[in-house]
Symmetry: C2
Subunit: 335 residues, 2 copies
């Protein structure tokens, strides 16, 4: 009776973005079909950060997991990641912890997959230019997701307040996609998003950093940064102009997604949300319907995305014989 | 940046009951002093069982953990434990997962410690006979706890519907306490509890198994079995007779403790609860005040008990150089 231990490093080798996209898309669909258990995230609050606990069960897929993930903004000063995640994958049949995994890369990949899925259903099929505001780790998996689903992309623009982050992103881009399309480091957020077809924001901003008058019709936004009350990245006028505001989960989006500040200020209502992304995936609601509509996807990050990606990593590790098997649970203790 | 991996087997070697009692007593005290964060347990429901997620933070002790524990009643048929727990110990300063531990033995030991603490404050100092109803794994750690805090004990009686469980308990008793006091395997629950000074119940019963007319004045009860709605072990008339009903946590006890059925039937009210055990530990409420009062402690099991015992196991493992250090979190991924 052994549990599989998978480090982040091991997960990095195992997960391919196309497979994560498929897994996350299935999870979104299951949610829309009402076949998931996903209690609200539970928080602990520390002096220097917080901890979120995210359990879920995808009943028809037989997948269940609990993610434990922190957010400590000052960790960088200590040489530690701001966000570190651990995932326990549970066998629903027996409750046995099948696997314990580093969840940091899984989190980044499933978020990249969410962006990709949103772009697939909501961005213009002929999208040529994608702008990334924020050039950190999340920007890389967002890029991976977009490059997987949008064959039409010819130009990637990137902007970050940190030149070091931009440089790291550039290196990643050249190594992976340098032969496929152009990359431009923009001098400002404005320069990055002007005439872009897809705009992806991955910052921790608490005030709008993309303004309405920079934006043409037909643009699709993936707002990946806002995941807590008070966070926002878009000028609320963009949200007013948008014909479709799509969320991953209505409750989480209202409380912490891109729309949380406009809603709390009375500029928007919950009823202005067009759909959850899973409803579009499942065919219950339509995706983009015309070339000139502005569409916005706001991601807060769901436990079911983690479960889907973690289960995928587990299956692949078993198949390839990777990871370390440990007797975490003692057979002596048959309670 | 390594996390410590501790298996159940390793934890068994590390935890001593006297130290666990001290750690759990501190946790109870902190709760009474309002210095803990302990959100409600979160549940997932599977076809064949359930999963509980128990996060908490003991602020002034700098201890935080998340326990994930299942309950699958039919697991025994598959040769698996009914209950299996995993604990993630978190560093509140950075959110880093300091340790991943098997939590099955920790759960049994912290429950034994709770029973010991309740007996210390609520049982008669001259208690001579303790009766254990239920002879499984939980009964062993209850015995360990009682033997640690009650020097006066001269006779242990045990009863279980399973002769195999009784036999296992007897073996455990002889190996550990055979030279210190008598043990009697009773022919019935009645025979076990008649004239006992302390009665400990550790069964999954859903109807009373200890009746009021068997019980003399001055008895103390540790009801450890009921931890979910519908479970009960004592005749409600015992609860009516008791002058002090003490719980670990009022909310959990009302919903799932020994008093949940009597309360839901209107036989008792929430106001009939005398105190949380932490209030007695902290000196905010009195323990036993006379030789003839009947006292009842009902345990549902708190996340802070797990955190305190897990932290103790971690400290001892570090001190002794035990366990396996793993790079669960990748330093590459500085998000």
């Amino acid at each position: 009776m052994k549990s599989l231990l998978l480090t982040d490093e091991c997960v990095i080798d195992l997960l391919k973005i196309d497979e994560v996209i498929n897994a996350v898309e299935s999870a979104f669909r299951e949610k829309a079909l009402g076949r998931v258990q996903m209690p609200c995230k539970v928080y602990l609050f520390y002096d220097s950060g917080d901890l979120r606990v995210m359990p879920c069960y995808l009943g028809s897929l037989g997948v269940s997991s609990v993610k434990v993930v922190n957010s400590h903004p000052r960790n960088r000063e200590k040489g530690l990641p701001t966000v570190m995640a651990t995932i326990i994958l549970i066998d629903p049949e027996t409750g046995f912890p099948k696997a314990i995994m580093g969840g940091t890369w899984i989190t980044a990949m499933r978020t990249g997959a969410a962006g990709a899925i949103a772009a697939k259903y909501l961005a213009r099929k002929d999208s040529r230019v994608a702008a990334l505001i924020g050039a950190g780790m999340q920007a890389r998996t967002q890029l991976m997701g977009l490059m997987q689903v949008m064959d039409s992309l010819q130009e990637i623009r990137v902007y970050d307040i940190s030149p070091k982050a931009e440089k790291g992103f550039l290196k990643f881009f050249e190594e992976n996609y340098g032969d496929r399309c152009e990359v431009i480091v923009a001098g400002s957020a404005r320069e990055a998003v002007m005439d872009a077809d897809i705009v992806v924001t991955t910052t921790p901003s608490r005030k709008p950093i993309v303004m309405d008058d920079w934006i043409g019709d037909g643009t699709h936004f993936n707002c990946m940064g806002a995941d807590a009350p008070g966070k926002q990245e878009l000028d609320p006028r963009i949200l007013k102009r948008a014909s479709k505001i799509v969320v991953d989960d209505v409750e989480q989006a209202v409380h912490g997604g891109e729309i949380n500040v406009p809603i709390s200020m009375g500029l928007m209502r919950r009823e202005d949300i067009y759909a959850e992304i899973g409803e579009i995936v499942a065919g219950l609601k339509k995706g983009r319907e015309s070339d000139d509509e502005i569409t916005v996807f706001t991601s807060t990050g769901l436990a079911i995305q983690d479960a889907a990606a973690a289960s995928l990593a587990y299956e692949k590790a078993v198949e390839k014989g990777l990871g370390l098997y440990i007797d975490l649970i003692s057979e002596q203790l048959k309670g």
